[in-house]
């Protein structure tokens, strides 16, 4: 999988289809205005966390005619496909969703994020964990009928090393032998990529890394189709092919109508068998009105902001299967470690104890999110619950600040060496911000901290953060396939908030230097506990994703890792 990992403003957007769809910093606007008010007033009190699952349609007779009349077409709402249909070149996550339907990967992911065979029937890793061998299935074909071979895999990995490759996929952490030389033009092929026979390819790397397998087993591009005009150092021709994609996925592109629809037809050569539903369409919808579109039967599937109001409204439609699942990412309050006073662990812990995260999360999500205390989602295989919960405790926070030498001044604000304890927080415009600001102001005032919120557009926030002009910033990671994705940002090399801790670096390195999942789990438990205590950031919450499917569509079980793309080929329509 090559979902690009992007930071998104915490809680922007009603997460579209999959978390990878995080197109940018659109404002999430008021997405329920104008609908009949079904506001649940109880929800202001602490609601119980909602369980994941699929809530089946109750009354299919309510299904609108528009949907019933569609016998061989499955329509999914998507916010903003832009037409860059290539899994290695898109910038906007929605184009990633659109590409997923057309390309097949060597290795797929199941609903728990485990790697399962895709185009590759099996794979072996050498005892030294440096060499990977993929065995392709027999008789694989692209949607134009041409065969899928090991040469195509070699070609795909090669162009990712080209110096003119301007997509955002980063292959370098895989450390394929000879990759750097190829990029610099010192070699005309990559030494570590070896095609053994048309169905077998061997990749040799120079460093053990648990993420390598994921990086080198992504979607396969046809060499005959994408590589016709390829010369080392010049990939510019490939742009003309973004609008004419060709892959081995379940569907092939029929037509892209900019701003309106991406239309597909079933790929007869798909290796798991031609999909039963002949036509598949991504129709442009907007978070403002996608519920109405779904309600009117114009779409069969869409994602919605996960909260009690939307859930009730969707369930009351009768014909909707409502899917609720926990996202694989987490939201956090970034801490600026370049500020001397935030380098003191006690101050960071006080900031965590002194903020009623539970109240904020419950008010905004009404049970559709849980407070996080480690950099992982509750659905991850590396998740552990055995850590400090930092439950709201102003007394403890005060005590920690006292210990750190911050004394309450005449105006109630703590001071140390003549400096007042003022915390500047950066956030984007969202319902979460509206709730966080008053609560945080109140909470922090109680423990003697002056809270200064600044609300701005996401790019401005990133720039301010880069300039170091902040104390806290609301951020969220995007889809996390491997647990390492969630902690990489705390390593000295990657941390742009100034955090650096040799123990974290060491544990991180250890966690990706073995491929044994049980061994890794142990290391992550240790790492998570350490991070939970040291607080490089204040962990905030894990949220849920909500989507709904028209009840006449069978076989769809969307999940945190593959969204709907994993199920596309096996769907059926009940007429």
């Amino acid at each position: 999988m090559n979902n690009k990992l992007k930071l998104v403003p915490a809680l922007l957007l009603s997460l579209s289809l999959v978390l990878s769809a995080c197109g940018g910093a659109q404002d999430s606007a008021s997405n329920t205005a104008g609908q009949s008010a079904t506001t649940d007033t109880k929800s202001a009190e602490a609601p119980a966390a909602v369980k994941d699952g699929i809530f089946k349609a109750t009354d299919m007779s309510k299904n609108p005619e528009a949907a019933k009349n569609r016998k061989d077409t499955f329509i999914v709402g998507l916010t903003e496909p832009e037409g860059v249909f290539n899994p290695y070149f898109y910038h906007n996550g929605y184009d990633g969703n659109a590409s997923d339907a057309m390309f097949a990967s060597l290795i797929d992911y199941d609903k728990n994020g485990k790697q399962v065979p895709g185009l590759a029937e099996s794979w072996d890793v050498s005892p030294d964990n440096l060499t990977y061998t993929f065995h392709l299935r027999k008789g694989l074909k692209y949607s134009d009928g041409s065969p899928v071979t090991a040469d195509d895999v070699a070609f795909t990995l090669t162009i990712l090393h080209d110096k003119s490759y301007d997509g955002e996929f980063d292959i370098t952490p895989a450390h394929i032998k000879g990759g750097q030389e190829y990029k610099e033009g010192k070699a005309s092929s990559i030494e570590g990529i070896k095609v053994i026979d048309p169905l077998t390819i061997q990749i040799t790397t120079t460093e053990v890394n648990a993420r390598t397998l994921g990086l080198i087993s992504g979607p396969v591009l046809s060499k005959a189709y994408y590589g016709k005009n390829y010369k080392q150092g010049d990939l510019s021709y490939i742009r003309t092919l973004h609008s004419k994609p060709m892959g081995a996925g379940p569907y092939k592109l029929d037509k892209f109508i900019p701003g309106q629809e991406v239309r597909y037809v079933a790929n007869p050569y798909y290796y798991k068998g031609k999909p039963a539903i002949e036509h598949f369409i991504y129709k442009v919808s907007t978070p403002d009105t996608n519920l109405q579109m779904f309600q009117a039967g114009e779409t069969d599937y869409d994602g919605f902001t996960a909260n009690a109001e939307n859930f009730e409204q969707l369930q009351s439609l009768g014909f909707a299967n409502v899917n609720v699942y926990t996202a694989s990412n987490y939201a956090y309050l970034d801490i600026n470690h370049k500020k001397p006073y935030l380098q003191d662990k006690r101050v960071r812990q006080a900031l965590a104890y002194g903020l009623n995260r539970q109240q904020i999360v419950d008010t905004n999500y009404q049970g559709y999110a849980t407070v996080a205390n480690i950099p992982a989602s509750t659905v991850s295989w590396a998740y552990t619950d055995d850590v400090n919960k930092y439950e709201y405790n102003p007394e403890k926070a005060k005590q920690l600040l006292d210990e750190a030498g911050w004394k309450v001044g005449a105006d109630g604000i703590r001071e140390k060496d003549g400096k007042k304890l003022t915390i500047t927080w950066l956030g984007t415009k969202s319902s979460m911000t509206d709730i966080l600001v008053p609560i945080a102001t109140e909470n922090y005032k109680e423990i003697g901290i002056q809270f200064q919120p600044e609300i701005m557009d996401f790019n401005a926030l990133l720039t301010k953060r880069e300039q170091g002009d902040y104390d806290l910033a609301s951020l969220s990671t995007s889809i996390l396939l491997d647990p390492s994705d969630g902690v990489e940002g705390f390593t000295t090399k990657m941390a742009d908030n100034g955090y650096s801790d040799p123990k974290v670096d060491e544990l991180y390195q250890k966690s990706i230097s073995t491929l044994d999942i049980n061994e890794r789990k142990k290391i992550y438990t240790e790492l998570f506990k350490y991070l939970n205590d040291d607080l490089p950031v204040i962990f905030f919450f894990n949220r849920k994703v909500m989507s709904a499917t028209n009840g006449r569509i069978h076989g769809l079980e969307p999940n945190s890792y593959t969204g709907i793309s994993g199920d596309l080929a096996k769907l059926t329509i009940e007429n």
């Binding site: 992007k6 903003e80 070149f89 003119s164 109508i257």
Partner: protein, 318 residues
Amino acid sequence: MWQYIIRRLLQAIPTLLGVSIIIFFVFALTPGDYVDTNIQLTPEKAHELKVLYGLDKPIIERYFIWLGNVMKGDFGFSLQFQKPVTSLLNDYIWNSFLIAIVSLILTWTIAILIGVYSALKKYSWFDVLVTLGVFAAMSFPSFFLGLLLIKFFAVDLKWLPVGGMTYGGSNSTGMAYVLEVLKHMILPVSVLTMLSVGSLTRYFRANMLDVIRQDFVRTARAKGLKERVVIFKHALRNASLPAITLLGFELPGLFAGAIITEKIFAWPGVGHIHMQALDNRDYTVLMGFTMFLAILTVLGNLLADIFYSVADPRIRLK
């Protein structure tokens, strides 16, 4: 006349150059660039991309590279859409034009009719009610109005589609296609019309009131002309003169796209693109599009001046 037009066009060049400098720097100086929007890139990868996209160069140099390309007729390449800016805009701009021109015609027709009538029946019930109505429509935020119409006409009554330009998967052609698009246009066009008709109605009403008090109208009536001729031939013509300038300003608006309305109705217009480009700091698209609108503004002004002289022989262009 031709001399005047050519001189005005030549004068537009420094204006546009100045505009391009301002908007380039405004966009370039907004915090963050295209690569920064993805901060999980490793610093090396981010730097690599900046070099590939030319974002590592000093801002002044970037401006001149852009300007040089524009001189050659090349408006650049959208990073985000991986497409030349001109072909990208071409994909979306006509959809925006479609709803804008229809709503423009509707707005002006309605505004003239209502404006004239309420001027003639000043302070009548009709005048009061219309004034109330147009002010009410005008003061609604467009997203609220849009959502309200969707609820009534699309969700409750099921008469009209919620959004988009055609039905999902539709393959209609010819007349059927035209009807389908018309059906999808009704709601967005209504919103746009309702939002703009108010001020224009008031404008026509005020002008009309001014004109019918003047001597030449009295003279016309004294000559025994029919009231209809007096109003529409003598009064309305004179009342419309200042509106020509206003019409000239509408030209860029026809292509600018209505960001909020288009978003609510999922209309595939250029407003989307503009917003997306801003969010992603896709400078070439922002620059290309804004420059296009600047050119249209200059052109609209010129056209207004020319038409003004045609409509009112008292004005001579020199």
